[in-house]
């Protein structure tokens, strides 16, 4: 009698120590993999899975940045338009052809993307913090600005990388592998590892969580809320730039619709990954897991032929709601 109660109690306390909300996205990913293996024989092959991960790279990396913004209590709706804007400027820079060596040109373009991406993030951050405008409004406005500028730059058409040498030099960044793993997949995990380090192990990361948890407490603790928030937008801009780095070699072209709706996919990945939209909780690996889930759902639908792939958007929309319901019920239990 006494024994059973103690073992029960210790089992209960073990389950209380494991935060179910942190584990849930990985369980969902695992179940999805099981489901996918029934859908098609080719699904659970290394090739297919690496392919899926490669295609999820843009959203995963952008969503890592969004994890910072959202953890600090902000929101960035402009990331999709920012991808189009940054990538377009980078292609135009390469087309201008001021550097003779193709490799030098690619490296310079990468630096340009990083700088422009961070500058775009800085603009978003300063408008929300100094201008004291709701992040939803700020980034909705900036979404229009970046998208409009891209349309204007492309004159409604496409901006295409014209120099064949540069294209040939850049192409492997998306299509080649290192140690059997495609570069975009490396990019996801390296970005994730650095982001996790920054968010979980540095003072800045702690400040991000504090600001998202309760702005007043952070301020009364001597933390500059404006600085921390602004920096999360700069990190978001940097992540958008990294996504652009691996986006350009894939198509070598941008149009006015590049990155359309990516902001919603990124936010979905963040939320499915267990980060709270109200701030104060940030889960980097959960976010990456969320991005994989979104891509795998599409992949399973494509392979299974049971559900029309035109329903992809509807399914992804349903996923975010189901994820929220599951998390809500986990909160109640704990």
């Amino acid at each position: 009698m006494t024994d059973t109660t103690t073992t029960k109690a210790s089992a209960r306390s073990f389950w209380r120590d494991v935060d179910l909300r942190a584990v849930a996205p990985f369980v969902a990913l695992f179940l999805l993999l099981v489901l996918g293996s029934f859908a098609h024989d080719n699904f659970l092959t290394t090739n297919n899975l690496l392919n899926v991960m490669t295609r999820s790279a843009y959203i995963a990396i952008i969503a890592v940045g969004a994890t910072f913004v959202i953890s600090a209590g902000g929101l960035d709706l402009s990331v999709g338009a920012m991808v189009a804007f940054v990538a377009s400027l980078a292609i135009m820079f390469m087309n201008a052809g001021s550097i003779a060596s193709p490799l030098g040109m690619v490296l310079a373009a990468m630096a340009v993307m990083v700088l422009i991406g961070m500058a775009c993030g800085l603009v978003n951050g300063l408008i929300t913090t100094i201008g004291k405008i709701e992040p939803f409004i700020t980034t909705l406005g900036m979404m229009g600005v970046y998208r409009g500028l891209t349309t204007w730059l492309s004159q409604g058409g496409a901006i295409t990388l014209r120099n064949a040498d540069v294209q040939a030099t850049y192409r492997p960044v998306y299509f080649e592998s290192l140690l059997g793993i495609p570069y975009p997949v490396w990019a996801i995990f390296i970005t994730g590892a650095i982001a996790a380090f920054v968010l979980y192990r540095t003072s800045f990361g702690r400040h991000v969580i504090a600001v998202g948890s309760n702005e007043d407490v952070a301020r009364y603790s001597g933390i500059s809320v404006e600085r921390v928030r602004t920096l999360t937008y700069v990190i978001q801009g940097l992540c958008v730039a990294i996504a652009c780095l691996i986006y350009i070699p894939r198509l070598s072209s941008t149009t006015a619709t590049t990155g359309m709706m990516w902001e919603l996919q990124a936010i979905t990945a963040v939320v499915v990954g267990g980060t709270a939209l109200r701030g104060g909780v940030g889960r980097i690996w959960g976010t990456i897991c969320g991005a994989f889930i979104l891509e795998i759902v599409g992949n399973v639908m494509l392979l299974s032929n049971v559900i029309s792939e035109y329903l992809l958007g509807a399914i992804q929309g349903a996923i975010i709601i189901i994820a929220m319901l599951v998390q809500r019920s986990l909160v109640r239990k704990s």
Binding site: R12, Y220, S221
Partner: protein
Amino acid sequence: MNTATAAHISSGDPTPFMASEGLSMAFGGIEVLKNIDLNIRAGEVHAIIGENGAGKSTLMKILSGHLKPTRGTIRIDGEPIALSGPVDAEHRGIVLVHQEILLAPDLTVAQNIYLGRELKKGFVLDDRAMNDGAAKAVRNLGADVDPVQTVGRLSIARRQLVQIARALLVPHRIVIFDEPTASLTPVETDALLKVIDDIRRSGAAVLYISHRLPEVKQIADRVTVLRDGRLIATRDAAELEPIDMARLMVGRDVSKLYPDHVPPGDTAPILEVENFDVPGYAQNASFTLKKGEILGFAGLVGAGRTELMEGVVGLRSGRGKVRLNGKPVTFGTVRNSMAAGIVYLSEDRKGKGLLLQQDLRTNLTLASLNKFARGLLIDSAREKTALDDAIGEFDIRTRNKDLLAGQLSGGNQQKLLIAKMMLLKPGIVIIDEPTRGIDIGTKEQIYKFIADLAASGKSVIVISSEMPELIGICDRIVVMRSGAIVGEVSGEHMNENEIVVLATGVTTSEVA
């Protein structure tokens, strides 16, 4: 002073209105309430007192249907019942006035009071009836609040009155007050005690939780003392003096609540504030603070004491001369004042002091994180050591070091907040309402901590609405009224009368 004194004790009614038998409650295997046998008679004010963590709040949550007990029975009119939730409890006439303010800040007073039970004419809201009803409900509480005023613009004390008015609108047989006077001024407290007396006269029962023992003595018919989840005693209030209550609560003698403190000699001031303005809150404030001194700030709620201090440390914009050790300084931001060795502990522990959703370690080191950084990394081992040290030094009582700050009791939250700010190694500590909502045992610890701090050569400013505590621990008391410093008392002039006269601007006879 007050008409609401303890009235007759209702003559031996055989069936109490509400009773509990063997009520027990456990969270995760830990019993926080053990075998509580309590009976509540109609027409009595029954005070529940006990230290933080004694189980008062848990007991109230069970009686009001917010929690289900692990064991035991609740009877109403002798019939065993199972409360399915707070709504069920309200239907049975049990209403709880929460300690926290639970109002929608953007709605008006009337809209809040009638929220969820709006008066209608057909399909249309009957605003006039609701405004009239709200005005009447608030006036019954002895307050004058405009029913169309937005709640967010009211002071905390007034918001609380609105909350009480809202609760009393439900037909009630038992009203549970959870520390209603914690943020009220003496005048407002008196008004509230009159309201409680009225409820008693109407034949309903009142369960009254408070840390202010003189108030309990004044208003209660019977007193139940809880300690460590057990019911220690239920006595007639007439038999108990506040000091007896304190002894029962703590389980030992607490004759000396305030520690000895020797005021500093005639030394040069460490902090001088001259003609300081905080727009909208304080004008032309000047005061000085000596090394090793404990300086009190008295005044009514809304007198501008908090805002003045927030202005001085750079949490609000303010203008004026500030000299630290004789050198003029300006703190544009709170970071600068912290770096200069001044810390401010907010009165709003839950809203501005601690991250309730984060663990103790995160909270402890938040203000001084750079001291725990090794290169880019936070040294979590040193953080853990710091938490162990703080738990020992400040006697933070927690069953588990991984708790969230919000899971600690009020007194332990305050200790954690003090520990957090002391990690900054300040020379000047400004502490706002240090013992609000805190039990007497913890109060004693905090007073001792403040006295020790001053004895070690630090200077302390205490803002408090509890005059006995200011008089008990301070060397001097500055009094503010409507944003201005109106006087200063020390020595034999440090008594409630002189302070009330200064704080209200009227003579004592008028106050009474």
